[in-house]
Structures are given as structure tokens and as C-alpha cells.
């Protein structure tokens, strides 16, 4: 259990800047996910903690020790790779034993720890198999056991589930989370899958172009994104261009749309420093829209189509100024027909303002 600290960490590859001055503190035992599209610098950050690449400038501190200049084999991190990276010439047990053997641990302790690790990932019957004889999910569990058996200060997971199919991915998400909370190990998880990030993490850092756009709990990230980028990357969002018209005493602001129709809405903005006259974006998640005029904010729209996704159904609609909306239809509620003009309403508390 150690903390990981990034101080103004920057990484350039030639002219390319992969990481632009990141400050980040991962607390002991915390599960932090670096979320972002490929090329945003998230894997570079992870590889700098492991020591495979050195930062161009800045410091990385782990457990109170400056590790910026240490080679990977002196760092005591446990990494799980997307390609599993299991040693093909060693059995499952020998793969797990590798880190213990190079540490020259007594044989008895090695064997006890390997047994524990195998039990932790439910692979006791497979100890003598070779990686080539295992399924993808089993291989990834061996990789996980191999990484935690050395009792690393930090567990580093580099898109460990990307190569697996959906069902297995969900199973292993639960498994990884269970192991992480059993061992209470500080964990950095890299993924481009927002579902994985939201379901597993204590905090999620959304990365964009070498910077952390927002770092927050999954709930805050989803309910109160701080930028158009985060709002669009995490879940679906309806965004309206608005101008602030009035600040009210109860933490609410009144905003107006920019277009000719001048529709007026109320939004919660207690957490924002915002001035009258400022341009901003009003964001509403599809599931916070209701059909009908039962709530404080109402807008008229024409139904353009519908998408059925099994557990949920979306309706696409067009607003008076040509804005497009996505509305989630509630279970049991009839979906309006294409071409129908409907009223869409939402509560002031369930929308957010972006000052960007």
C-alpha cells in the first residue's frame, strides 16, 4: 500500500508531446482509472510508473520514494499487460514463481505464496498447464496472480480486458475489483472503455491530449462533468448553447437559448462561478429527459427516429432551433411516433452547466 504522486510529469517523443505536465496523487489503496481515447497519453503514464520509459521532466514518487530515475526492476510495481505477456515456456505455477525466484525467496515461502495466488484467482487445478493451453480469461488471471504475488506497492493494469469478449470482460471486472479490495492494493487502471472505468474505480481521470481533463468519482464525473469533452466522452449528453440571464438566491441560474425562440430554462449552478451574460452549455443526460410538461424546464421537439438497444430505447428528436436531442424512453412508456411533435421536460437539479 503506497501512494503514487506525479509532479509536473511531461513526456515528449521527438516533436510529439505525449504527456503535458500532469499532477496526480493516487492515495494508498485507491483504485484510479486513466480513461481516454488511444493517443491521449494514458498508457505512457502507466509505463512511466513501471519505469519502461522515463519522463522528459517532472518527478514520480511512490511510497515516499522518488523513483523517477530507478530502472523497472528496482521499483516493485506489478503490471498486467493487454497481451498477457505470460512466459510461454513456463507453466502457470512457474510464471507466478518468476518474480519470487529472481527475488531469491526461500523455496517454502515461494510455494506458499504461489498457492495463495492460485487460490486468489481460482486457478489451482491449472498450476501445471502451459499458457498455450489456457483460455484468454484464464491467461489474464494468471497474469494478475503473477503481478500481485510479488506484493507490489502499486498494481498497474494496461487495458487488461481489451482482448476479451463482453461477458468475460464483465466477469473479470468483478474479479479484478474483488482482488483489489481483498489485497487493498493501490491500483492504476488504463482503459478506453467508460463502462469499465465507471464500474471499477474509486476515481476516474479522464485524459485528453496529454492532460487530465477531469479527475473525480464516477458519480461526479457523470453527473457534473466539467467540460464538453468529458460530458461527451462519458455517457451520452444533450448540449444546448445558452446565455446566463439571471442568478437566483437558491443556487439556481436562469439561462436562455441563443436562437430566435429565446426559450428559458432553470439550471443548478451552486458549484460554479458564473456571471450574468456568460455563454455556456446546458447539459442534460438522455435519461433525465421526460416526455410531457411535468417539470420546470420544457422544450418542444419533433421526433426524428428511435433506436432500440434491448434494455433501453432512445428517441432522437429535433428542437425548435434545429438542435438534436436524444431522449431515453422509460420502461413501459410508449415511444412517440416519428414526425410527432412532443414536449420534453426536465428538472433543474438534473442538468448541468459547462462554462467552457
Amino acid at each position: 500500500m503506497s501512494e503514487v504522486l506525479f509532479e509536473k510529469v511531461e513526456k515528449r517523443f521527438g516533436d510529439q508531446v505525449a504527456v503535458r505536465g500532469i499532477d496526480l496523487l493516487v492515495r494508498p489503496g485507491e483504485f484510479v482509472t486513466l480513461l481516454g481515447p488511444s493517443g491521449c497519453g494514458k498508457t505512457t503514464c502507466l509505463r512511466m510508473i513501471a519505469g519502461f520509459i522515463a519522463p522528459t521532466s517532472g518527478r514520480i514518487v511512490m511510497g515516499g520514494r522518488d523513483i523517477t530515475a530507478l530502472p523497472p526492476y528496482r521499483r516493485n510495481t506489478g503490471m498486467v499487460f493487454q497481451s498477457y505477456a505470460l512466459f510461454p515456456h513456463r507453466t502457470v505455477a512457474d510464471n507466478i514463481a518468476f518474480g519470487l525466484q529472481v527475488r531469491r525467496l526461500p523455496r517454502a515461502e515461494c510455494e506458499a505464496r504461489i498457492k495463495d495466488a492460485l487460490r486468489l484467482v481460482h486457478l489451482e487445478p491449472f498450476a501445471d498447464r502451459y499458457p498455450g493451453q489456457l483460455s484468454g480469461g484464464q491467461r489474464q488471471r494468471v497474469a494478475l496472480a503473477r503481478a500481485v504475488v510479488i506484493r507490489p506497492e502499486v498494481l498497474l493494469l494496461d487495458e487488461p480486458l481489451a482482448a476479451l469478449d463482453l461477458k468475460l470482460r464483465e466477469e473479470l471486472q468483478v474479479e479484478i475489483k474483488r482482488i483489489q479490495s481483498t489485497l487493498k492494493i493501490t491500483t492504476l487502471f488504463v482503459t478506453h472503455d467508460q463502462g469499465e472505468a465507471l464500474s471499477m474505480s474509486d476515481r476516474v481521470a479522464v485524459m485528453h491530449d496529454g492532460r487530465i481533463a477531469q479527475i473525480d468519482s464516477p458519480e461526479m464525473l457523470y453527473e457534473r462533468p466539467n467540460s464538453r469533452y468529458v460530458a461527451n466522452f462519458v455517457g451520452r449528453t444533450n448540449l444546448l448553447d445558452v446565455v446566463v440571464r439571471e442568478k437566483r438566491g437558491d443556487g439556481m441560474v436562469r439561462v436562455e437559448t441563443d436562437g430566435a425562440d429565446k426559450a428559458s430554462f432553470i439550471a443548478a449552478a451552486a458549484h460554479l462561478q458564473i456571471d450574468v451574460g456568460a455563454r455556456c452549455l446546458l447539459g442534460v443526460r438522455p435519461e433525465h429527459f421526460h416526455f410531457g410538461d411535468g417539470r420546470a424546464n420544457v422544450i418542444q421537439a419533433k421526433v426524428r427516429g428511435a433506436t432500440y438497444l434491448g434494455s433501453i430505447r432512445y428517441v432522437e428528436a429535433e428542437g425548435p432551433a434545429g438542435q438534436s436531442f436524444v431522449v431515453q424512453v422509460r420502461p413501459g412508456e410508449p415511444a412517440p411516433a416519428r414526425g410527432e411533435v412532443v414536449l420534453i421536460s426536465w428538472r433543474p437539479e438534473s442538468c448541468f452547466l459547462l462554462t467552457e
Binding site: G51, P72, G78, V102, R103, Y130, G132, R146, I150
Partner: protein
């Protein structure tokens, strides 16, 4: 059905074409009648008793030269292959081409060049290469190293660098990583390269003809020179022994390592 039959027939004819001369040699070595008559008239093993001691001495030379060539080829070929596939240094493409060229240049040309080289080398250093085991080994390394490098490069093309990163991450030093991960993972192609070098060395006539001779006469050269004057049953017998030895070697390798694994097709 017709397709199945055609496939089987083609397979049979191919094997017959490849193996018939070998079978003829083995059968002829047991022929009691006049040499080179086929089919044999009577059965005898006395040709085997007539094999001259110089053939066994030549076999010993061949095996020593082959083994040393194989070991040195792999020992020098592995670092070369790693440098070629991982390094970014000036002259890399040139080195690659040089390591490929002995596979393109006819062995006879290499043999002449080596002969010339051994004379020049003697002029400069008064060290004798011609007719010595060291000279033979140097000669055979000219194709042994390229063969090993090619074999290891082929195996290395699918190497997952994450394996080495995983080892470093688990606390292995770069040297431990090399011996415990890189070498074992590349072992099938290293062994294949070594076997290639050994077999090529055993098989070589042109280079051994120019640089060998005297105490450094290999078995193929001995057979070659003997056949020129005296084509007897003892030559058939030694040829049959080589066939038998090759079969035993292949079976042993298959049992010990697995031939499919050795040549790349592993799970």
C-alpha cells in the same frame, strides 16, 4: 474420391522420388554380388567390416567440425540477429546484406576465396589455416552464421517485447531477463539454426575440398576422393551408416524436443 486418390498418388510418387536413391544405397550395401548391380543377388554384411579406418577418422573430423561450427554459429548468430532486429544503427542494412550473401554466393566461389585467404593469412601471420580443423571451422562459419541468423530472425519476428518488460517489471535484471526469458522463448529457432549449421557443415564438399585435406579431411571429401578411384561396397556401407545415423538423430530430436516445435509450429 478421385481427388483423394490423386492426392495420395502424388504424395506417394513424391516420397518415392525422394527416398528411392537412399533405399537403393542401403540395399546395395548388403549386396553380396558385384558392386553396383541392382537388384542384389545375395545378402552380406562384409562390406561393413571392410570400411577403412580413415573413413572413421574422417567421420570424427566431420562431427567435430559440425558441432563446433553449430555452437559458434549460434553463439555469434544470436547477438547478431538481436542487433539486426532490434538495433537502429548505421550500416544495419549493409550488415544484413552481408549476412545474407554467403547463402547466395556459390560455395565453390567461397571455397576458392577461402583458399586464397588462407595463403594471404599465412603470408601475414605464418599461421596455417589450410588443412587444419580451425581452417575448416572458419570456412564453415561463413555459411553457418548466416543460417543461424536467418533462423533466429525468423523466430524473432513474432517476439512479444512485453515478455521482457514483464520480466523486468517482476524484478529481473536485464541479464536475468536475457537468460530466463529471451533465450528460452527464442530456443526453438536457436536450436533450428544450430541444426541447420551442423547439417550444412556435415554436407559441405566444395569448401572442405579447398581448405581441408590432410588431417582435416571430412567424410564427404573422403568419400568423394575415394569414389574417384575405387567405387566399392565399403562406400555403400558408410553411406548406409550415415542414413541410419540421420534417422536416429531425427527420431531422438523429435522425442526430446519435438520436430514441429523445433521448426516453429508450437502451441
Amino acid at each position: 474420391m478421385i481427388r483423394w486418390f490423386a492426392l495420395r498418388a502424388t504424395l506417394f510418387l513424391t516420397f518415392a522420388f525422394l527416398l528411392a536413391p537412399v533405399c537403393v544405397v542401403v540395399i546395395a550395401s548388403f549386396n553380396g554380388g558385384p558392386v553396383l548391380s541392382f537388384p542384389p543377388r545375395s545378402f552380406t554384411t562384409h562390406w561393413y567390416a571392410l570400411i577403412k579406418p580413415e573413413f572413421f577418422a574422417a567421420l570424427e573430423v566431420s562431427l567435430i567440425v559440425g558441432a563446433v561450427t553449430a555452437l559458434l554459429s549460434v553463439g555469434l548468430g544470436l547477438p547478431a540477429a538481436l542487433a539486426l532486429s532490434r538495433g537502429r544503427f548505421p550500416g544495419r542494412d549493409g550488415l544484413n546484406a552481408i549476412l545474407l550473401s554467403p547463402l547466395i554466393v556459390p560455395a565453390l566461389v567461397t571455397g576458392v576465396a577461402l583458399y586464397q585467404f588462407s595463403l594471404t593469412f599465412w603470408d601475414l601471420t605464418h599461421v596455417v589455416l589450410g588443412g587444419t580443423l580451425i581452417g575448416l571451422i572458419v570456412g564453415h562459419l561463413t555459411f553457418g552464421i548466416p543460417f543461424s541468423v536467418r533462423a533466429i530472425l525468423a523466430g524473432h519476428a513474432r517476439f512479444d517485447y512485453a515478455l521482457e518488460e514483464a520480466a523486468l517489471n517482476l524484478g529481473a535484471t536485464p541479464l536475468q531477463t536475457f537468460w530466463r526469458v529471451t533465450v528460452p522463448v527464442l530456443r526453438p529457432s536457436i536450436v533450428a539454426g544450430g541444426i541447420f549449421a551442423f547439417v550444412m557443415s556435415l554436407d559441405d564438399v566444395p569448401i572442405a575440398l579447398f581448405i581441408g585435406g590432410g588431417d582435416a579431411t571430412t567424410l564427404p571429401v573422403r568419400i568423394f576422393t575415394t569414389v574417384e578411384f575405387d567405387f566399392g561396397g565399403d562406400v555403400m556401407a558408410i553411406a548406409a551408416l550415415i542414413v541410419g545415423g540421420s534417422i536416429v538423430l531425427m527420431l531422438a530430436l523429435d522425442r526430446l524436443i519435438g520436430l514441429d516445435r523445433l521448426f516453429g509450429a508450437r502451441a
